[in-house]
């Protein structure tokens, strides 16, 4: 589904990703771990198409299509979803209205008829239940005045509504207490199917207790330096990132 080859990315002239390779197939959950500054969030942003990230080399294929020239909204319409580390507030726009617009745009892109209001509402209700989000929150302006946990939950709710093929979770666990973490993780687990894929970006192992990955990759200094099964996460947790730093002394993170 996602094929990243030799990806090189710079931000304001500084090279962040230095030849990253990653393949994610449908039905899989991949975790990306790494110390601060390794390029984790850059990877998330560049997949989503954030402008200030300049691709200087390599390619990103999504379902066989090179998406590096697509605008962020086109990528979303192709089925890429990013759960933001810091979700943005949009005052005066209710989450329902926001999602209605998003769903219509995505459907139009795919040549589908607009959804009927009653079908949309039914879907809204179903997904609210699925990810256990307070109906109060969805009636309020997008993320405005939400707590950190509420914002993250709203991201998962939006993911549920938009049914992406690939969901990138950028440090979704940051700032969450253990209960909120569990609710968010449960939501993600319920959304896992054989057809979609997840890229879970995290600094800590604990999220992976709840969202069990098929593969774990260690990102260090702009490259994936180690890949393995879920046990790799536990090993990392035990030995700490210094272990990686010692193993790759030539790199400076």
């Amino acid at each position: 589904m996602l094929e990243i080859k030799n990806l090189e990315v710079s931000v304001e002239g500084k090279e962040i990703l230095k030849g990253l390779n990653l393949t994610v197939n449908k039905g899989e959950v991949h975790a990306i771990m790494g110390p601060n500054g390794a390029g984790k969030s850059t990877l998330a942003s560049v997949i989503a198409g954030k402008e200030e990230y300049e691709v200087t080399g390599g390619s990103i294929l999504f379902n066989g299509k090179d998406i590096s020239e697509l605008s962020p909204d086109e990528r979303a319409k192709e089925g890429v979803f990013l759960a933001f580390q810091y979700p943005i507030e949009i005052p005066g726009v209710t989450t329902i209205n926001f999602l209605k617009t998003a769903v219509s745009e995505i459907r139009a892109y795919r040549g589908l008829e607009p959804m009927e209001a009653k079908d949309f509402l039914a879907m809204l209700k179903e997904k609210q239940k699925l990810v256990q989000i307070d109906t109060n929150l969805t009636g309020r302006s997008v993320n405005e005045g939400f707590s950190g946990g509420e914002k993250k939950r709203n991201e998962i709710f939006q993911m549920a509504m938009l049914e992406p093929k690939l969901a990138v979770l950028d440090e979704t666990d940051s700032g969450l207490d253990i209960d909120a973490l569990r609710i968010v993780a449960e939501g993600v687990n319920k959304l896992r199917t054989k057809e979609n894929a997840f890229l879970v970006i995290t600094h800590y192992q604990r999220l992976l207790d709840y969202i069990v990955p098929d593969f774990v990759h260690v990102l260090y200094d702009g490259r994936i330096v180690k890949s393995g099964k879920k046990e790799l996460a536990l090993e990392l947790e035990e030995k700490g990132y210094d272990w990686i730093k010692k193993e790759f002394p030539e790199m400076i993170a």
Binding site: D73, L82, I88, V93, L99, I106, S141
Partner: protein
């Protein structure tokens, strides 16, 4: 960042969508203003002597006044002698049905997305269509007549209801009130008149579409709305103007009188030609709008969505004379490219327990300048008066300006006055967040701006709110982008 600037540039520099001229036969007065021109206008309109006297008085007063320049606006001097003060579509006879209306005129409305037929059939709105100063068609008049409601062109009111006009015209905005109001009083071409009798709740939104349609013609509309005791009316005004090279002056006057227990809601969507991207052309809009809450427990509410005009100078105000009366001002002002707006309100509290609310949302894009100017005045004896003001500014790009000039004068110790102001920039982060959900930048901006304006849009009657939302998106297409 360079990429997003480009988007902003593209969005803010889109062309005016309603730029076209319809080919209607007009009769135009030669340029210039003097006593003879005032007499000519009055004669053209077959006015009684008292109306002419009133105009002449205004004209003489106008000669003693100087054009005001205190607003945060820059524009070349206006040559008042180069303007023609009268233009009317040639009209052979009184029209009985839409079939008799000039088809070209109807097509003009269609281009604007305003179909009289549709309006009549679907929304139950009575439309008094004013094109180049003469009222062309008034609908639903009979239906309103059964309730004793008078809704007609100003000229017709002068002939048919002289006592009412005589009693109220100039009672809220006196002939000598200000330079532009005096000019209007001397040369006003036409406009609308509305009277709601005691205890009557007007069953439909009353609506007027104004449109400038003759090159080099100033437009001087005059509207008078009188709500008698315990009555209610919601009045809608909307404008779009065709593309023109030279600047066009517009100086309208609107007066509202609300008697005891009466309520008047006045909503405007203004989309006059704003000039091109370089600031060439566009309407100069100098408007005096004022209402008086004459009786106790009366209420006047102004809601405006201002997206057009090269220059906007406009302060819809309320004089809160009756005890417990309420004044409201909800405003969205959008400026793009080279547009300039200096707009706001005046709330004058005279009666006891009077309350006023001001919510102003300014949006600046391109190289435009957008100013809020408001005065809250609490007179001595206006005990327990309350005001709440909120003035928000939204900037798009880094070449535009937003300014706030709030004036507060309090002469009574029991008053409670609150003022809040914010300035924000439309965030790249917000746009990216929308993009990431599959919403393109243009739509994202529309969504964000409509969200920002929601408090005001909510105050508009339903059918107008939809139009206003569209207009916001069109005005900022690109622009704010």
């Amino acid at each position: 960042m360079a990429g997003s600037d480009k988007i902003l540039e593209e969005v803010t520099s889109s062309d005016y969508k309603y730029g076209f001229t319809s080919d209607i036969d007009t009769e135009i007065a030669p340029p210039g203003l003097n006593e003879d021109v005032v007499r000519f206008i009055s004669a053209k309109k077959e006015e009684p002597e008292w109306m002419l006297e009133w105009r002449l008085k205004a004209y003489k007063h106008w000669l003693t006044l100087k054009e005001p320049h205190w607003a945060h606006l820059k524009y070349p001097d206006i040559n008042y002698q180069a303007i023609s003060y009268y233009a009317a579509p040639k009209k052979q006879k009184v029209l009985n049905s839409l079939d008799e209306v000039d088809p070209e005129l109807l097509r003009t409305f269609d281009k604007l997305g305003i179909s009289l037929q549709e309006q009549m059939r679907l929304s139950g709105v009575a439309v008094d269509a004013v094109i180049d100063s003469v009222s062309v068609k008034t609908t639903f008049k009979e239906k309103l007549g059964e309730l004793g409601i008078i809704f007609c062109s100003f000229s017709e009111a002068v002939k048919e209801h002289p006592d009412l006009v005589k009693k109220y015209v100039g009672s809220v905005v006196p002939v000598g009130d200000n330079y532009f109001a005096a000019l209007n009083s001397a040369v006003f071409s036409d406009g609308s008149f509305c009277y709601i009798p005691k205890g009557v709740r007007c069953p439909m939104e009353l609506s007027t579409y104004f449109r400038i349609n003759s090159a080099g013609t100033g437009q001087f509309e005059r509207t008078l709305i009188v709500a008698d005791e315990g009555s209610y009316v919601s009045y809608l005004e909307g404008c779009t103007a065709p593309m023109r090279d030279e600047n066009q002056l517009h100086a309208a006057v609107v007066e509202i009188v609300a008697h005891k227990d009466a309520e008047v809601k006045y909503s405007t969507v203004q989309n006059w030609y704003p000039g091109d991207k370089e600031g060439k052309g566009g309407i100069y809009n100098f408007v005096t709008k004022r209402g008086i809450c004459l009786g106790n427990n009366s209420k006047i509410s102004w809601t405006q969505v201002e997206t057009g005009s090269a220059i906007t100078w406009k302060y819809p105000s309320v004089i809160l004379k009756g005890d417990n009366s309420v004044g409201e001002f909800y405003s969205i002002a959008v400026t793009n490219n080279m547009q300039q707006a200096d707009t706001g309100t005046k709330m004058t509290h005279i009666g006891k327990n009077t309350k006023s609310t001001i919510v102003s949302k300014g949006i600046s894009a391109g190289k435009s300048n957008n100013s809020y100017r408001g005065l809250v005045r609490i007179n001595k004896g206006a005990s327990k008066a309350r005001n709440f003001s909120q003035c928000d500014s939204l900037l798009m790009g880094d070449r535009c300006g937003a300014h706030t000039f709030p004036y507060i004068e309090i002469h009574d110790k029991s008053a409670i006055v609150e003022h809040e102001a914010t300035t924000s920039k439309i965030g790249e982060d917000q746009i990216f967040y929308c993009n990431q959900r599959g919403i393109d930048t243009e739509k994202a901006i529309g969504l964000i701006v409509n969200g920002y304006c929601r408090e005001v849009l909510n105050k508009l009657p339903m059918e107008f709110a939809v139009e206003a939302q569209k207009l916001l998106a069109v005005s900022l297409e690109g622009s704010v982008g």
